[in-house]
Subunit: 258 residues, 2 copies
């Protein structure tokens, strides 16, 4: 899927650290973290990935002093990836940022070259990505969450096996119905993206160049490709005239893993 | 709210006809129709409003051969406003278009001057407007639908009085709770629009100029102002630092009624 690099900087130059969690293959899989890796690659920022196994995420993030990404209704903090540590602006006081939207906005503000938000589009792009997460990707969860749990390294699996999330849908009418609900979301989004034909390339969310919204959308595709290559990505490749394959292709040059 | 004009064209020049339905005041009220009037005014197209009382909409639209705006699950067609008739491109075969999104796209395609979609933004704007209709405006319905029914001229009221839609929320905790749900949507959208501060004027959805998304949003504000001036608009004026008043002000020059 993507090229691996051990480092593109000398060991003494501080670089941005992206915290990520490994799946069953050498390829990154988590969509919210891909979204940030896309931005780092697109902006050609120097970074390296710090791999943290799933069950170690909270302890690791607490140990580096990362802010929680959200707070539960009972007041307990929630620690999730992605997190970045940026020592490049002030090496004695590195910035630590949690949450994909915060990180995206931080990077656009402090590294404005090669913008991921076309002029004036931060609000509409943010709403687009909110929609991708909260509406578009929703019917994927009953399929993808159990597959993602099974795709984690063995040590990381126990927390999932006690929950319903572990019950993968067996082949048959229930799973087909679940994919049908996914397809309805893809069909609707395709009809929205088709509106750009007169002022776009028919692939990118905004016009002719990839932007933040494309990275968020392509990250969902990579999640499916990684965790459900045969049952999921093989279907989606065929949907909507191959639009999703073309989007993945368009984003491919920003898929390096450092 | 807006200036009235009897005509800005001679009677022999064909102009676009916008079908609209009257409320209790001389001001238009229906949000989906305002969205189109905004575009006509913004593009400085010559048009006149054809007023049709609510209970006459279906018969009128059938009589002019307007396409249905949608089809029920049982196959029966649905006739709703807005509809435009455009005889200006070919007076012997006027175009008749139904549905606010279709009309907006038609106008942008055939009258591209003064675009309402900034380059490359048709898809993101369309999704934004879909969100305004399906998510943002949803909690307004239990409040606004009964008020809108009561606000129609007397002849138009019977169809509503047989449905639950006629039960306006009485003052008290239920109505306060309903407005609280509305406020949560306004608060969230405000937080999204705030993301533009660095590359926008803090009012418009995209950057510094009004566009289709602003017109759709402001149309919802005008609906509330028209049908719930004291209980609704008086609240909303105060929310989110006055953002909604500023948006209405920014759109004001496109509120003429021809």
């Amino acid at each position: 899927m993507s090229r691996y690099h051990t480092s593109r900087s000398s060991s003494t130059t501080p670089v941005i650290i992206l915290y990520d969690t490994p799946g069953h293959s050498p390829q990154p899989w988590a969509p919210n973290i891909w979204r940030i890796r896309f931005i780092l690659n697109y902006k050609r920022l120097r970074y390296r990935t710090q791999w943290v196994e799933f069950q170690d995420i909270e302890a690791t993030l607490r140990s580096i002093g990362a802010p929680p990404s959200s707070v539960r209704s009972d007041g307990r903090p929630v620690y999730t990836l992605p997190v970045i540590v940026d020592p490049t602006r002030n090496s004695s006081r590195p910035e630590i940022i949690s949450g994909p939207s915060n990180i995206a906005e931080y990077m656009e503000t402090f590294y404005p070259a090669r913008p991921v938000f076309p002029e004036g589009s931060r609000a509409v792009q943010s709403l687009f990505v909110h929609y991708i997460q909260e509406v578009f990707a929703k019917p994927l969860l009953p399929i993808m969450v159990p597959l993602s749990a099974k795709g984690l390294p063995p040590r990381s699996q126990p927390p999932f096996s006690h929950s319903h999330a572990a019950d993968a849908l067996p082949p048959g009418p229930h799973r087909e119905r679940a994919w049908q609900l996914v397809k309805e979301q893809f069909d609707f989004l395709s009809s929205i993206l088709d509106k750009n034909v007169q002022d776009g390339d028919g692939v990118c969310v905004m016009g002719h160049s990839v932007s933040y919204a494309d990275f968020a959308l392509c990250s969902v595709l990579l999640w499916i490709e990684n965790m459900a290559p045969h049952d999921g990505w093989a279907r989606i490749r065929e949907w909507n005239g191959g639009r999703w394959v073309r989007l993945r292709e368009k984003c491919r040059e920003y898929m390096d893993v450092y």
